[in-house]
Symmetry: none
Subunit: 197 residues, 4 copies
């Protein structure tokens, strides 16, 4: 009885994973706004209708991908603490920008949601705690680096500065991915410098 239910839930989780993974894959390949429900379904090996058993609509799926990304960055910071016992502002910037370089859909979606006008309350209800957690981590980084004033505000400023850097240079014409990574990391280092002062 319970075993069956567990199996069901497991399967559900697996299929959801399938869909999300397919979505992420496609988003990574090109502009996420161009990716269609049908494509995701095909890539995930499910039918279009199935997506809607897991997500009320495409925006919900987008949100999910976005939140996964945000969580992953948090996890990377956690990991840094675990491994090194600390995380400098420099290191934080590096981690975030490296992550963004490899997961462009994150700030693509950030833009998507941020520029979409008022988000449905349900959306922001899901988004808020996860973003808060990320900012908490960043605030901690500041504090442990000796910054005492306006740490929350600085966390906001730094986080969005790094995103802006990516948006501004992510696909700068005439540069390939490797160059862009270098450039954005260089910019990140400068920004880190400034924020460490």
């Amino acid at each position: 009885m319970t075993a069956l239910k567990l199996l069901r839930e497991k399967e559900r989780e697996v299929r959801r994973e399938l869909i999300i993974t397919a979505a992420q894959k496609l988003f990574a390949e090109s502009d996420f706004r161009k990716v269609t429900a049908r494509e995701i379904a095909r890539t995930a090996g499910v039918s279009p209708g199935t997506i809607y058993r897991y997500y009320k609509n495409m925006d919900e799926l987008f949100l999910d991908v976005f939140l996964i990304h945000a969580n992953e960055i948090s996890r990377l910071i956690d990991l840094e603490y675990e491994r090194e016992g600390q995380c400098s502002i420099h290191r934080y910037c590096e981690i975030q920008v490296e992550y963004l370089n490899e997961n462009m859909s994150f700030y693509q979606m950030m833009s998507h949601f941020m520029l979409s006008g008022a988000l449905p309350s349900e959306t922001s209800k899901k988004m808020d705690p996860i973003m808060r957690r990320l900012l908490d981590l960043l605030e901690r980084v500041f504090k442990e680096s000796g910054v005492e004033k306006d740490t929350r505000l600085r966390a906001h400023a730094l986080f969005s500065s790094l995103n802006g850097t990516m948006i501004s240079y992510a696909r700068y014409p005439g540069r390939d991915l490797e160059e862009i990574k270098k450039h954005t990391l260089r910019l990140a280092a400068i920004i880190a410098d400034q924020f460490s002062a």
Copy 2:
């Protein structure tokens, strides 16, 4: 003959202006991605087909609006120099963020282009000199503020940080435009601080 030609060109310029102005107006009123070619045509008082005599496609028109915005920021900095004889990093940040607050389509479009994948070479050919001019100005601001090292890189970093700030908080759920302006200006001040160190 030549007079006629001039007249023709004049008319052409006027119509182009009409279209651009209509587009800007509509973009300002809402999310630019929701604005349709027909709407722009209607607002401009021309037919949809006419838009395509002036722009190969919608993206070209977007680009034009984008470049106008970039130029306007440059002009604002110029103005500051004319009026005050100087422009501090603080003042620069203030000007840019204020402008962005009132012209959201600028960074909306920046996102649009940056996230669209490789830009057509023609696009970047138009974009480059104008962006370069803006960054030149910002570099000058740095230099005159006593910053000597990595001024170009810092210009890049600052510019994109400010944009990122706007994208991240432009439509923060639950805040009205006035609050957002205040918040982003506060963040801009912090960023300015950091970059002035």
Copy 3:
């Protein structure tokens, strides 16, 4: 063995009842064409698949509801006879129209079936005896009211006239349910008058 079988059948009957009742409830709440199989299942507390153990498809379920309605009208006429020993044409019209006012899905479904093109023979096999019984009753009403000629035809005519009245005025724009009831009853009275001549 037999006891078990009986139990099984009992259970089957109960579940069928559950489904039908749920369907009727939902049909009563809104336009029956908008009610989905899933909704019915959910309301009945069964799974969507279960519906198909009892009905080959949705149309069969619709038919069942339709027939229940037809039977209920018959029963109301029977009741009238039991209580009053007679049933005038006027009274008949009143009963039918009152019933239709409270069970709009009846003539909604009548329309549905009648307009669907050729009904499957199985459908009409189920429909025929029940409609015949209703018309028998109405014929009897005519006969006992002293009408002798063409009673069957008149029964047909009266029955469908009353339905038509409802369809034409059921949701007359700008009138509420109470007004519609009044209006249709007034029309029914007129029709009754004509048929009593």
Copy 4:
């Protein structure tokens, strides 16, 4: 100038006619609710998108067909007056029922709209005058037949009775179109009788 405009309007009218005619043709062939926008477009020899240049949505197209039917009935009555100088209740019923037999989509649509719940105000704004005109005509028929009391109400009652007859017997299982026509005309005659009393 004006000539061109006139031509344009002419063309517009022609294409609209094309669409409507295609729609009517398809409606006549089967259940109008099953007819899709694509089918209509294909039959009319236009693209799906074109339909939406003429109608805001499918319901508007349905409404147009409906109104055309209503007008045609009115015109048939007018014609009868022109030809015969009068129109008896019998004749009226005959005309309506004959028309309905050949244009089943009329009462299909009547049902569709009537059962759809509150009609959009724009819909009823278009519908009202045309239905009123038809009822005016029918009222005149009553008056000229010597009926003096409740003529409006009787007009309502008669009109909807005839529709109901069609809905109830239009596709009565096991009868072909010719039989149904005969049967409904017979019913119409009876109804006419009653209303003439």
